[in-house]
């Protein structure tokens, strides 16, 4: 690339020739890419949450406390189609679970003279067979009542699907907006340098040579916006995770490093691709007279 240095210098010069407008384009791109990262990040977390909750789908079967042979009852539940796993949670474990959930507030349980929690069967099930499992367990002799949390799961799944749809919408909107911003910026640059471009044409310069600095500038601005958005979203992930870990520890978040890496790769690839596409679109829609 004998002209590599020249192309970089030209891109910088084109940037400087319309500095304010180009800085606004950079910030505009940065902000919409950050918005994109935010939506994709939330979508990714909610999908992960739904998947985890589905895996953990369970119902709690409370039995009459005077029952003697819990082993037999447990075995009967295990035989029901749709049940993946059954275990007995005794009163002590039920209390200690609640203590974990309450965290610093767990002292409130000390107000009770006796352990207020009941022993129960924790039944992991296939979510699709909730109705049948629920009915069959309820009908077993010795079962007092059965509690299921399907409504919560369905609501979370609904939110996740809505976020997915919103994600696609935002991706489309961000892509179009970035293409418009970058291509407009490129067209402006070409218009401002039209005399220079005409001179190059008269000297016989090929279109690739003339266009490359503009494409490079569009790419660098969008990719720069992508890098800035990546930095900001990573700061946000770090802060968000530490806050959620201390305030809502029971929410099953995906591993921080995986979310962070996924968003970084996504943002950098998307910004690079949008930068090149936007620039090419800008160059191809600019009028240049031979």
């Amino acid at each position: 690339m004998k002209n590599a240095v020249y192309f970089i210098k030209e891109s910088v010069r084109i940037f400087r020739s319309n500095k304010l407008s180009n800085i606004f384009s950079f910030f505009g791109t940065f902000l919409i890419l950050f918005l994109l990262a935010l939506v994709v990040g939330i979508w990714s977390i909610s999908s992960q949450l739904t998947a985890l909750l589905k895996e953990e789908a369970e119902i709690s079967a409370y039995f009459k406390q005077d029952i003697q042979n819990t082993e037999e009852l447990l075995h009967m539940i295990e035989q029901i189609d749709g049940v993946r796993n059954v275990r007995l949670v005794d009163k002590e474990e039920a209390r200690s679970r609640m203590e974990k959930i309450l965290g610093e507030e767990s002292g409130i349980l000390d107000l009770f003279d006796e352990n207020p929690f009941e022993a129960y069967f924790e039944v992991k099930i296939n979510l699709e067979k909730t109705d049948s499992v629920f009915t069959q367990i309820s009908g077993l002799n010795g079962i007092d009542y059965v509690r299921e949390n399907r409504e919560v799961l369905e609501q979370i799944e609904g939110v996740s699907k809505a976020l997915e749809a919103l994600g696609y919408l935002v991706i489309a909107a961000v892509s179009i907006t970035t293409l418009v911003i970058i291509s407009h910026m490129i067209r402006q640059g070409i218009y401002q340098n039209r005399e220079q471009i005409k001179t190059f044409m008269l000297l016989g310069a090929p279109d690739n040579f003339i266009n490359f600095p503009y494409i490079l500038l569009g790419f660098l601005l969008t990719f720069g916006g992508g890098i800035a958005a990546t930095v900001l979203i990573n700061i946000l992930i770090n802060q968000g995770y530490s806050r959620l870990a201390s305030t809502l520890p029971f929410i099953p978040l995906p591993p921080k490093s995986r979310l962070s890496l996924g968003l970084t790769v996504f943002l950098l690839s998307a910004s690079a691709a949008l930068g090149i596409l936007g620039s090419l679109f800008g160059v191809s829609t600019s009028k240049k007279n031979n």
Binding site: N3, Q196, T199, M201, G204, A205, P206, N290
Partner: protein, 225 residues
């Protein structure tokens, strides 16, 4: 090299700039194009550069048929031409050296040779000491010489110069004409439009194309190679 058969150029407003032009210019020929303002000199150069296209007749430049739908090939052809524009067409915000280099960056010339060519060309036009000066800080005459340096540094097969001495004093004008004239020894064809008819007598073997009201008359003087 350049062959025109009954070429006419009529602009969109109906003005006939050139009428039934016939030319046959050989490689290494040095040609003056003279005539009053508005006679069609610049229009002839525009045809040769592929900026305008003949309304009728056929024109070949360096074996390239000059018609509108050959735009891509005509752009390639321009790489073999060293143009000196009447309005110079220097690129502002760049030094004299950068402007000369601009004419070669997209040619198949290695970087080192490109820089040598540019420095030599600036030396030939007497501007080696102004190589790092921004072109907008140069005088009119100096800017004209940078434009000439840009054209010759490319080592073109054909030089098309539109009034290259128009803003130069006599000594500089003679120097530039000598510079352009010497290119014929390298088998480069040179076409120069000029009002400075007093310079023509210094080059007795140069051909002269007289242009008047769109019609031309070619005067071959002396033997050229």
């Amino acid at each position: 090299m350049i062959k025109a058969n009954n070429v006419s150029l009529k602009y969109a407003d109906g003005t006939v700039a050139l009428h039934n032009v016939n030319l046959n210019i050989k490689p290494g020929e040095f040609v003056y194009i003279v005539g009053p303002s508005g006679s069609g000199k610049t229009s002839l150069l525009k045809l040769l550069m592929g900026i305008e296209f003949a309304s009728s007749g056929s024109l070949y430049v360096l074996d390239q048929f000059m018609v509108k739908n050959e735009a891509r090939n005509i752009r390639k052809l321009r790489r073999k031409i060293g143009p000196v524009f009447q309005e110079f067409r220097l690129i502002q915000g760049r030094t004299a050296l950068e402007n000369v280099l601009m004419g070669m960056r997209f040619l198949d010339i290695p970087n080192r040779q490109m820089i040598d060519n540019a420095n030599n060309a600036l030396k030939k036009v007497g501007l080696e000491h102004k190589a790092s000066v921004m072109v907008e800080k140069l005088s009119y005459g100096e800017a004209q010489r940078v434009a000439i340096a840009r054209a010759v540094a490319r080592k073109p097969a054909l030089i098309l110069a539109d009034e290259p001495t128009g803003n130069l004093d006599f000594d500089n004008a003679i120097n530039i004409m000598n510079l352009l004239y010497n290119f014929k020894d390298e088998n480069t064809t040179v076409l120069v439009t000029t009002h400075a008819t007093h310079l023509i007598d210094n080059y007795r073997d140069a051909s002269i194309i007289h242009v008047e009201s769109g019609k031309i008359h070619v005067e071959h003087r002396g033997e050229q190679k």
